[in-house]
């Protein structure tokens, strides 16, 4: 066991966990933040996507011991994020979700895309979102919602 000081959504948190514990499970079980989801555990599906120092990161494969001082931002903070809010609103307006389980990860990936590329082309969207699985396959509406969000972001 080791103790780690974390910055999550701007707040300082302290956890004492096995160093090999993936950030995903520290968030979900130690910090009780279940918005970030477990879909595969091997970074193939993207449901666990968070932002670490602004970089979209698959938290299921990041052992807490490798995090260092980097700041974590999760889906729970997107409501108060300028880009996050626009993306969420577009998702709701376009009725994107079905079961919804993958959508935290989809939104975190979409926000990362739009922050780096505010006016993404269709190719940009497909390349950046092409690593997130939606088993319900809501991809058509995800594309539409990203375009809607991009159009609204200055």
């Amino acid at each position: 066991m080791a103790t780690y000081q974390l910055t999550v959504n701007g707040e300082r948190k302290e956890v004492t966990v096995d160093p090999s514990t993936p950030l995903l499970w520290v968030l979900r079980e130690d910090l009780k933040m279940t918005g970030t989801k477990y879909g595969c555990g091997v970074s193939v599906c993207g449901a666990c996507t968070v932002h670490v120092n602004g970089v979209a990161t698959r938290s299921c494969m990041l052992p807490i011991s490798l995090l260092g001082e980097r700041a974590i931002v999760t889906i729970e903070a997107m409501n108060d994020d300028a880009v996050g809010r626009v993306v969420q609103d577009a998702w709701v307006e376009k009725d994107v979700v079905q079961c919804g389980y993958c959508q935290s990860g989809q939104i975190m990936s979409a926000v990362a895309l739009l922050k780096a590329t505010p006016k993404p082309t269709d190719t940009n969207i497909e390349e950046s979102m092409g690593g997130n699985i939606c088993r319900c396959a809501t991809y058509v509406r995800i594309r539409e919602a990203i375009k809607t969000a991009a159009a609204r972001l200055k």
């Binding site: 979900r28 939606c134 058509v140």
Partner: protein, 732 residues
């Protein structure tokens, strides 16, 4: 080396109980799943159940603050029922939609499917079976509110009207539902009630957005896997590498030494036995499980092997099986010259459902009662199973329905194996909630797959270019055989393996469909659209081949070949033609269109796809879908279901879209070995067109799935000249 420390008697009892409870829980009406209600009604073979009286207060709670809480009698797992059923009720109720809150009802008699007699979601039957029910509930609640207001105002009820959660009296009086709610709930439930004229619908038929969108977008909505209870423990189970193997010995010293591990013990599984690890947290449990050294006993266990099975199936397919359909002249083929025949052999692999949320159940056992939380498609069956394991009656088990991250059939299991595992574990931790989690690897490797199939079809073509003789042999495991429901198979035929072929709407005068159901040591289960997943593929690719041979347009050919009674398919084809003709006629070089149509679960669907080949894979630029599902309760939901459902259907074409066995062991581990469609695999655009209808609504959960794969390969065939009869599509 410690041996498994479980009472043998306990194991014996649990194994017997698997069978016993499944049988009684089904109540015999489960068979209706395979004769879907419209077919049953047509054939008159299934007596209609007597209508139940559903107490409105079990479904609607009008709160003093104005909120109207509606109980949904089915699991919401993406299909939108949590919005559609409340819409239906709220419309008849004349409720203010902005005040409606939907809840997933717990397991209870009153929430059972009116036709099926169990609480369930499946067979695309939610709207079809509960449309009338929820309308009546809404209308009755409205009547009770009016009666209450009329009583207060001393006026005649028929002089009152309602609008947006308010009752208005003839003399200018008004009262909010919120004020009347508690009195109304105590008033007499009318025996019968007048329903709205469809022209009066305010919500039904409109594009109403989902109620659960926002919380699914901000991380606040809790799925079953997210449940957190005080003092909760987490369990994972080490499963045998081959179905049915049993634990011979376990070295759990290393596992137990990890901080936070609470217990390690053998448990019975639906197939064989496994070792449960219970810990304070998931990661601890998983690491401890990884440290277990287990010796397995494989005595008497059959090892499935995909290549061996396909060879065996192909051999079987060359002989007639049990008859599923025999129409016309069995010898008609013999009279047709070989040059006018097509012989085609198809192969389909096992498929995993792999819903996005891994399987999980949380149970707390308190001795004389228990509480369970799960995203289940079969709540009352699961409730009974948990009770059986814990020695409780169903009424002593409170079963909460959690929001589920997908299902596609995987959460509707008659043997309730996940719930039983959880109950066995919870029993050892009396008073403590235990959450059982299946890891993704457990899920991919854990069985309950869409069975593998081989089809062998011989078609004799008539002078008019239409098929005059059709001999079709299907080989595949039965979903029912080997279970208590085997007694419901008709003459040994499991209808779920032949639906879509034996009951085809194509007018083939001499049609012979037969089936072999081999016994294989692989647990199997219905996978979204069940038999139609493979039968539609065979039918629609062969029909297309026939159309090409006859040099007839693929839509026109189908329109000519379909029976006139196939109204929904014909309507869908007509609408499809109209909506896709312009783009079909001007395709860029290297692009081709493909057509398919199929009716399943009472809904007729036709689709056209535009495909090119990029990087040696099919690139689907566009799909146009036309659907006849009777009354479209929520067109937005239907559009969503079809846009996404066709992309889900492409699972069958994915290069790594197969579960394969080698020497009894599943070769895939996770989503990198069994790869579902990602965004680049999905169609870029899908436009959905709904045939206007006043007929009773039928389902849209499964109907999108069967049409897409044949349509895509029909387009590919135009581009490459090849026929694609083996799935998944490894090479194009």
């Amino acid at each position: 080396m410690s041996t498994a420390n479980t009472n043998d008697n306990e194991l014996q009892l649990s194994r017997r109980s698997f069978l016993r409870v499944s049988m009684s829980a089904a109540g015999g009406l489960l068979v209706a799943l395979y004769l879907h209600p419209t077919a049953a009604a047509q054939e008159g073979s299934q007596p209609r159940p007597r209508p139940k009286v559903y107490p409105p207060d079990a479904f609607v709670d009008i709160r003093p603050d104005g909120k109207i809480v509606i109980q949904v009698n089915r699991l919401e797992f993406g299909q939108g029922v949590q919005t559609a059923l409340p819409m239906i009720l709220a419309d008849e109720l004349d409720a203010d939609w902005s005040q409606v809150v939907a809840e997933l009802a717990p397991a209870a008699d009153v929430y059972k499917d009116p036709l099926m007699g169990i609480q369930m979601v499946g067979g695309s039957g939610s709207i079809a079976h509960s449309f009338q029910q929820y309308r009546e509930l809404g209308a009755k609640t409205r009547a009770m509110l009016i009666a209450t207001a009329a009583e207060r105002w001393k006026v005649a009820p028929n002089k009152c009207r309602t609008q947006e959660s308010v009752v208005y009296g003839p003399g200018g009086q008004s009262a909010k539902y919120a004020e009347l709610g508690s009195d109304a709930a105590r008033s007499v439930v009318p025996a019968s009630v007048q329903l709205k004229n469809p022209s009066e619908f305010r919500l039904v038929g409109k594009n109403i957005r989902r109620l659960d969108s926002r919380p699914k977008c901000d991380g606040s909505l809790k799925f079953g896997l997210d449940l957190d209870l005080p003092n909760m423990k987490v369990a994972v189970v080490a499963r045998p590498p081959v179905f049915g193997a049993r634990v011979k010995s376990v070295d759990d010293k290393a596992a137990r030494s990890l901080e936070g591990v609470r217990d390690v013990f053998e448990i019975p599984l639906a197939h064989g036995t496994g070792v449960a690890v219970v810990a304070d947290k998931f990661w601890t449990a998983k690491q401890a499980r990884d440290q277990l050294k287990i010796e397995w006993d494989f005595k008497g266990v059959k090892r499935a092997d995909s290549s061996q099975l396909f060879a065996k199936y192909k051999e079987l397919a060359r002989t007639a099986g049990l008859s599923a359909m025999a129409r016309g002249d069995a010898k008609a083929l013999e009279g047709i010259d070989a040059s006018k025949r097509i012989v085609a052999e198809y192969e389909f692999p096992y498929l995993a459902h792999a819903p996005m949320e891994p399987l999980n159940t949380t149970i707390r056992f308190d001795g004389d009662r228990a509480e369970a939380w799960a995203g289940s498609q079969f709540q009352t069956i699961d409730q009974m199973a948990i009770g059986e394991v814990l020695g409780l009656k169903p009424e002593q088990v409170t079963f909460h329905t959690e929001m589920a991250g997908g299902g596609f059939g995987r959460r509707a299991v008659a043997d309730s194996h996940v719930q039983r595992e959880a109950a066995v574990i919870a029993k050892r931790f009396r008073g403590t909630p235990v959450k059982l989690i299946w890891t993704r690897e457990d899920d991919i490797r854990g069985g309950y797959y869409r069975p593998m199939h081989v089809h062998r079809v011989e078609v004799g073509i008539g002078a008019d270019g239409m098929p005059s003789a059709w001999r079709h042999v299907i080989v595949g495991q039965s979903l029912l055989a080997g279970t208590p429901f085997a007694q419901y198979m008709k003459d040994g035929v499991d209808n779920s393996a032949v639906e879509g072929a034996s009951d085809t709407h194509y007018n083939i005068p001499n049609l012979n469909v037969s089936v072999h159901h081999p016994t294989v040591n692989v647990p199997v289960l219905w996978w979204r659209s069940v038999g139609h997943t493979h039968t539609a593929y065979v039918m629609e690719t062969l029909i297309d081949e026939l159309a090409a041979r006859a040099s007839v347009d693929p839509i026109a050919y189908r329109q000519k070949l379909l029976k006139p009674e196939a109204k929904k398919l014909l309507a869908a084809l007509g609408l499809l033609d109209a909506k896709s003709a312009s783009w079909r006629r001007k395709l860029p070089k290297g692009h081709a269109f493909g057509i398919s149509c199929h009716e399943s679960f009472g809904t007729g669907v036709a689709c056209a796809v535009e495909v090119s080949i990029q990087d040696e894979r099919p690139r689907i630029h566009r799909v146009t879908v036309a659907v006849d599902a009777g009354i479209a309760v929520n067109p937005l939901t239907i559009e969503s279901q079809f846009q996404a459902g066709v992309a889900f259907g492409l699972s069958q074409l994915m290069e790594k879209g197969a579960i394969t066995f080698k020497d009894g062991v599943v070769e895939q581990r996770n989503f990198d070995g069994f790869v579902p469609p990602y965004m680049p695999d999905a169609p870029v655009a899908v436009d959905v067109h709904i045939v206007p209808s006043t007929e009773a609504p039928t389902g849209c959960g499964e109907p999108p799935v069967p049409v897409i794969s044949p349509a895509v390969v029909n387009a590919l065939s135009k581009l490459t000249g090849k026929r694609y009869r083996t799935l998944p599509l490894v090479t194009v």
